[in-house]
Symmetry: C2
Subunit: 266 residues, 2 copies
């Protein structure tokens, strides 16, 4: 039976609000996700929040009822609250019907089975949470095995990244590793490392891809460091026909991911 | 010779700050763009700001000097100011070295020459400024003729859209029209209208594209209205192999744009 919280000063609300800050997420190993669509995606992927906050006027929505029942069955807590507090939790003016607080998860590099998919996405020093979430969404759509984050990337559990992923955070395996761990791991098994680069003459359409293919995208502003690019089996570029010299990182990743997927006969 | 403004209360600063609000942009027919990269892109595309704000410590940067000289030559005003005021103008904590205030521009649908490019991008009810800017950036990179915005789209002159475009706002022709104007205009000449849709069996890779091809992307949450989709010559879908049912709108547009561009032999 859900309890009700209507006071902003409630200690649980205060604590949950702090999860919008990375430091607190790290300390608590918890993160926020909002919206019926994303929470239903999580539910269907077998992930239930420890705490589920919902507004009274949505309590009768069938998906909210299902979430409440399953959260309580799993030992979590469902809490009825006000739209205003939901706004405070998510940091958005128009609050979603539901906000969930989940345990952080993640995959260790060593636990990845590269045989499960012919395509893997790898991003290094990605800075924009919207780009990270969008790449997760693309990874899900293209059927990639997962996303490997290299070096100092933006936190995949940030509210903005989770939001941009539209729930793909819950369905796509995410690993975080340093380059010095990643490269030996990659080379310990089969795998073609393909780097997106501006300093190559190889058109992405002219290249030959091989499974499992690991698509490496660099930092939004700087691209790949030269030694990372040099370590790739293949460097490809997407032709730029206008005044600009690059595409958005999530866009370039998606063009490559769908092209490689097509070439690998999927 | 640049004048200097250091007071937040300066009426020009107050007026410029208001341009972050759409209502004021519409009334003034002016907009803000920030950053040396974007302003240099604008300069190279022949667009100079009416007012150029720069921080004293960047006054000696060669690109800033060039901008200041050319703005003054063109009858605009270059104004030295503080990092703090630059922050206030752009709404960002880390201010860019320069902020420009430009006259709004745009292309009338009737003035578009569809023969200049085999590919045009069309978006309807696009809501996210980041998506709009990213699509502009893609339009530039793929060499599209321009972007046609249909119905109630987010403002292409918003600070966020200009920022996400990385300067492509200045290099890509942007037209705004209602669907009821667009469709007769399109049908008055050659043009294949291709709609991105989830309700079709046609894989985007199996379709035949013809120049000039007009790629139509729908609203982020709802996709294309059924009657818009029905008016297309071709409806295609990008296969979804995961749990999610769609890609980010800017990502889907880019995958399509590069595929069509490739198929049209570019």
């Amino acid at each position: 039976m859900p309890r009700s919280i209507t006071a902003h000063s409630n200690p649980l609300i205060k604590r949950m609000r702090l999860l919008r800050d990375k430091r607190h997420r790290r300390a608590e190993r918890l993160f926020l996700a909002e919206g019926l669509r994303i929470l239903t995606e999580a539910h269907d992927a077998g992930r239930l929040p420890r705490w589920l906050f919902f507004a009274r006027d949505t309590a009768e929505h069938p998906l909210v009822r299902l979430l409440v029942a399953d959260v309580e069955k799993a030992g979590g807590e469902a809490i009825e609250t006000t739209p205003d507090i939901l706004s405070k939790l998510s940091g958005k003016d128009n609050p979603q019907a539901v906000v969930g607080v989940f345990d952080e998860f993640g995959v260790a590099l060593a636990a990845i089975d590269r045989a499960v998919s012919p395509l893997w996405l790898v991003a290094e020093r990605l800075r924009d949470p919207g780009n990270l979430g969008t790449i997760l969404r693309t990874a899900d759509a293209v059927g990639a095995g997962g996303l490997i984050l290299i070096g100092q990337c933006v936190d995949p559990f940030s509210v903005e990244a989770v939001r941009a992923s539209m729930g793909a955070l819950f369905t796509v395996a995410v690993a975080q590793a340093e380059w010095d761990e990643f490269l030996p791991w990659l080379r310990a098994g089969p795998g073609q490392l393909v780097g997106l680069s501006l300093d190559t003459e190889t058109d992405y359409r002219a290249a030959r891809y091989a499974a499992p293919c690991f698509l490496l995208t660099g930092n939004e502003a700087q691209g790949l460091p030269p030694d990372y690019a040099a370590a790739c089996d293949l460097r490809v570029k997407i032709p730029m026909r206008g005044k600009a010299d690059s595409l958005n990182a999530a866009v370039a990743t998606a063009i490559m991911a769908y092209t490689v997927s097509d070439r690998l006969g999927r």
